[in-house]
Amino acid sequence: MNRSTQPPTPRALFTGFLGIGVSGFGGVMPWARRLLVEERRWLTADEFTDVVSLCQFLPGPNIVNVAVAVGARFVGARGALAALAGLMIAPFAIVIVLGALYTTYGHLPDVAAAFRGIASAAAGLVVAMAVKMARAGITRWTAVIVAAAAFAGIGLLRLPLFTVLAVLAPVSVLLAWRRVR
């Protein structure tokens, strides 16, 4: 699929990412791809994959990084800000309304009971994310050991993330260094 010849304006970036922000539940990346590649054609499929791999390489929320990188690519800092604002503004307003409702009604017995069920279901969603990631990404025994150590450090010993990363990241990166060229 070809890229559109017209680069997006800050306004178009804002409205585009506004749509992405309110589209997805539990992860919006597939919606970002649909809008950026298929509908607006600001990026080719390869360019999108490339931007996503940059954003997964960097720390921070991936889709937020995508908004910054795509906005910056076309209109510099103004574009990055426009895309970022578009992505965040509507979902932020929505969760604040939900948060206010939770603060007001969360203590009512029926609501609290429903929330116990929602929380258990949401935990299940994260279990599923972990299982899917492990199935795709754990391909050798060194990875099993590193993942198990990270789990034990963060989940069982409750160590600070910084400590866990400071120990495991260099080891794991060195192990990977020998396999890549």
Binding site: S23, G24, F25, V28, D50, S53, L54, Q56, L58, V64, N65, V68, A72, L87, M88, A90, I94, V95, I96, G99, A100, T103, G106, D110, A113, R116, G117, I118, A119, S120, A121, A122, A123, G124, L125, V126, A128, A130, V131, M133, A134, G137, I138, A143, A147, A148, A150, F151, G153, I154, G155, P160, L161, V164, A169, S172, L174, A176, W177, V180
Partner: protein, 175 residues
């Protein structure tokens, strides 16, 4: 008092932004450690409820940070926590994006990305474990968590249906 809390929220989430490998969900255990264990701003079960609320809303997963801020210090807390969580990593992305072409195929870049992958998976498993412990108070609740996980892994059912199913079971007093 409130200024102190806002400053603490800003400092904690700004630091977290720069070590948030793999996005917001793998660093949920660190958020829980910060706001539940270190500061005592909320209970583990409230933390799990806020995450559930974020999952039930549209938008990026990072919005759980907004709800944590909301719970701690209202609208100002939500704004401060959200801005702190996305600003440092966004500035880094902005700075690095232009140079990406030059090191995209570099060996060290691939080694870092592949090396961090199993670490992120371990963190994700930690997040799953801690959220389950925080959310589930009886055997039926553990069964619900396991059921949802199985359905999501094995089918393409939309997560919102499972959230709604959970709400129904909770409302009905099953979990």
């Amino acid at each position: 008092m409130t200024d102190g809390v806002l400053g603490q929220l800003a400092a904690d989430f700004a630091l977290l932004s720069l070590i948030a490998v793999g996005g917001a969900v793998p660093v949920l255990p660190e958020m829980q450690r910060m706001v539940v264990d270190n500061h005592g701003w909320m209970s583990a079960s409230t933390f799990a409820s806020l995450f559930a609320l974020a999952q039930a809303a549209p938008g990026p997963n990072v919005l759980v940070v907004s709800l944590i801020g909301w719970q701690v210090a209202g609208l100002a807390g939500a704004a401060v926590a959200t801005v702190a969580m996305i600003t440092p990593s966004s500035l880094l992305t902005y700075a690095v994006a232009a140079a990406w072409e030059r090191f995209r195929d570099a060996r060290w870049r691939k080694a870092i990305q592949r090396g961090l992958a199993p670490v992120t998976i371990g963190l994700m498993a930690g997040a799953a474990y801690l959220l389950t412990r925080a959310a589930d108070q009886n055997l039926a609740a553990y069964a619900l968590t396991a059921f949802v996980a199985f359905v999501v892994v094995l089918t393409r059912v939309h997560p919102l249906w499972l959230i709604a199913f959970g709400a129904l079971l909770g409302f009905g007093g099953v979990v």
